[in-house]
Amino acid sequence: MFEEVSEVMEMFRNAFPLSFLFFIPILIALTPVGAANEFSVYKMQRYDLQGTSFGSKNFLINMEARPVGSSSMTRRCIVARLEEVTLSGYRDWVSQNAGGLVILIPENIQQLSEKEKKHLQNLEEDLLVEESGIPVYFAPETEELAEIYESIKNGASGDQAATAWQAFLGAATANGFQMVMTGPAEKPLTDFPIASIQGRLSGSGIEEQLPSIVIVAHYDSFGVAPGLAQGADSNGSGVVVLMELARLFSKLFTNSRTHAKYNLVFLLSGGGKFNYQGTKRWIEDNLELDANVFTDAAFVLCLDSLGADQTLNLHVSKPPKEGSAGAEFLKNLEELAKSRSPAVKFNMVHKKINLADEMLAWEHERFSIKRLQAFTLSHLDSHKSPLRSSILDTKENVNVEVLNRNVGIIAESLAAFIYNTSTTSVSQLFSQSLGPQASIESAMLNYLIQESRCAQLVAPEHSLITTLQDTMSRYLKDVKISTHKADKRDPEFLFYSGSQYTMNAYNVKPAVFDLFLAAAIAAYLVMIWFLSQNMNVLFSTIKKYVQSPQKVKSQ
């Protein structure tokens, strides 16, 4: 016995390096196990603004998936297509203590029909306001995801069974999905700095004594899921127009003949979708420190959503007085809008600031509160337009030609104002080489919508900010970034981290199934044991069959 042992050991010792070499490849080959279905999900917004919380307080999903309409939702993750989610249904799930909601949206969101878009926009508003603990995620529907959705939908889960026996059988044969989310935990971003970028063009003469024109556009986007908000029209188009104006006027201001007696101040403000936090802070800073920006400000022009439609609306809180700078600019705009073919419809929309409302309607109201002549130019006729804060605001919403035309109108009316000439003569100024160029605008817009620009995703170190700063410094002077953090004790706004997560759908069986399987295996093993116990019976039968012809022969 011991001899044998030592013999075996001898063999292993001799072969050890070899057998080691033998194991390693097997280990390497076998470790990667086919990963479960993996897909990206985008978390719904969560933020606190002026003491009110928006969005869901929970974010973790690690539970079984259920389709819409299954009877028990408690601690389950509901997987639904967009059209299946309604506000009343959502409230119902909340009352049932559902554990999570994954809403499937088409990969190309513009595929939705008009009716569905309307539905999505309403849902975006409602879900954000609704107070609940259900984590809500949006998932672009890939083919894989569509398959998972179908199997969840068709899966015979124990919940729907009529009788106890059916429920029992269903539990054993069901094919469930466990939705597991991976990614860093959601945490509040206290001290999150909102960055605003400003730059200026100085007029000819003593800079301090010249009046200024302030041009403002907020660069952030907004949507129900921060990771999906491209914000092409609102306010990618505003940023593009501002950049193009900066480019055109920087050229004009370098030529001594066209160097106007006005300072132009350009501001790309942050946090525009959060009650214009960046603008607010910028005004406060500049009123206190650097008074000359405002004392002689002729007017403040805010740009918001300028990429579509045949209309231009000038939103004002107080109609400009006859003869004031604002009135003159307004007149220029009106004339130039008319002169286009086809004519652009121009309106002035008057809306008083509602001080009772916590949210300001347009960006210019931040300036109007401080008694500055200010207005917002937009193709939208109301600040309530859902397009301003929707994930539907993609590139398809912006027509670059319209954008280019609007740049032309604004640039010409500005020029007519600062050179104090008639609107007809100014159109030659922006001729071929100096004209607004659609290619530049389109490139800029494409860059802006590459990534989501939601305020909580764009920290001052973000590449978007540095790129915008670089572009501005190419045309403007004194380009600088100012950051704004919320007050520590009484924060006006509070963002939360995390927008894109990875979700895995694991194909799982209920626990009862394991018991069934164990019973089946036990039965199989007993059968094997019984067979091998009676092997000799089999042997003798075969032997008889084999022997009989030979016996015949021998006889």
Partner: protein
């Protein structure tokens, strides 16, 4: 899926081996170390095969969907080394004839089971996701036990002098069939598009047929007719 599921798979894969070991009379002959030796020989043979494969069949990264029949055929030809390995084991082991091939087959199959099944089961069957393939894999290991024992039996038959000469072509063709089994399986997967369950069933039936034919031939040998253990 869970540890319970892992337990299920392991039970399905390993307990039949234990049953066969107990009931075939191997335990009465203290054949454990002989089985271990056979397992060691399995390792050595696989290593040699791998050397040959790595030298003459460098891995191609083309990864096309098409089936490279000739390449697979040549690779399976290398599996003939298995037969040589089994033969060597049996010539080294002293003992009764039926003990020889049982030891060789058992040792060989167990060694393969441990080498190729433990880690996938450990990694996969305990994972969150459920997949039938682990149950199939465990069941497949039962089939390969029969396969290896019958192959060992065939090799043993082949080396016998008192084998009826008319049987020799049958034995050879069965050996070759067993050897090229992976190739046949590949072709079946590609050509017929068998599902994993059907494939498993086909494998089982095929192996059972080979096993029965082999058993019948074994029992035909004159020596077996006279002094049979059973």
């Amino acid at each position: 899926m869970t540890f319970f599921h892992f337990g299920n798979c392991v039970a399905l894969a390993y307990i039949p081996y234990a049953i066969v070991y107990k009931c075939s009379g191997l335990s009465e002959y203290n054949a454990f170390w002989k089985c271990v030796k056979a397992g060691g020989a399995y390792l050595f043979t696989q290593l040699c095969k791998m050397m040959v494969l790595a030298t003459f069949f460098p891995a191609t990264d083309s990864g096309g969907d098409g089936l490279d029949v000739t390449g697979e055929f040549l690779k399976c030809t290398v599996d003939l080394a298995d037969l040589v390995g089994l033969h060597l084991i049996m010539t080294r082991i002293a003992g009764k004839s039926q003990l020889k091939f049982m030891v060789a087959g058992m040792g060989w199959a167990t060694s393969e089971l441990i080498m190729t099944r433990v880690i996938p089961l450990w990694v996969g069957a305990r994972g969150v996701e459920f997949d039938w393939k682990y149950i199939q894999m465990s069941f497949d290991s039962n089939v390969s036990l029969i396969h290896h024992i019958s192959t060992a039996m065939l090799v043993w038959l082949y080396s016998r002098n008192d084998l009826n000469k008319s049987m020799l072509p049958v034995v050879t063709s069965l050996l070759l069939l067993g050897c090229y089994r992976p190739l046949i399986v590949e072709i079946l997967i590609h050509a017929v598009g068998l599902g994993s369950w059907m494939l498993l069933l086909a494998k089982t039936l095929f192996t059972l047929c080979v096993g029965l034919v082999t058993l019948q031939m074994y029992l035909r040998i004159p020596a077996q007719l006279q002094n049979s253990y059973y």
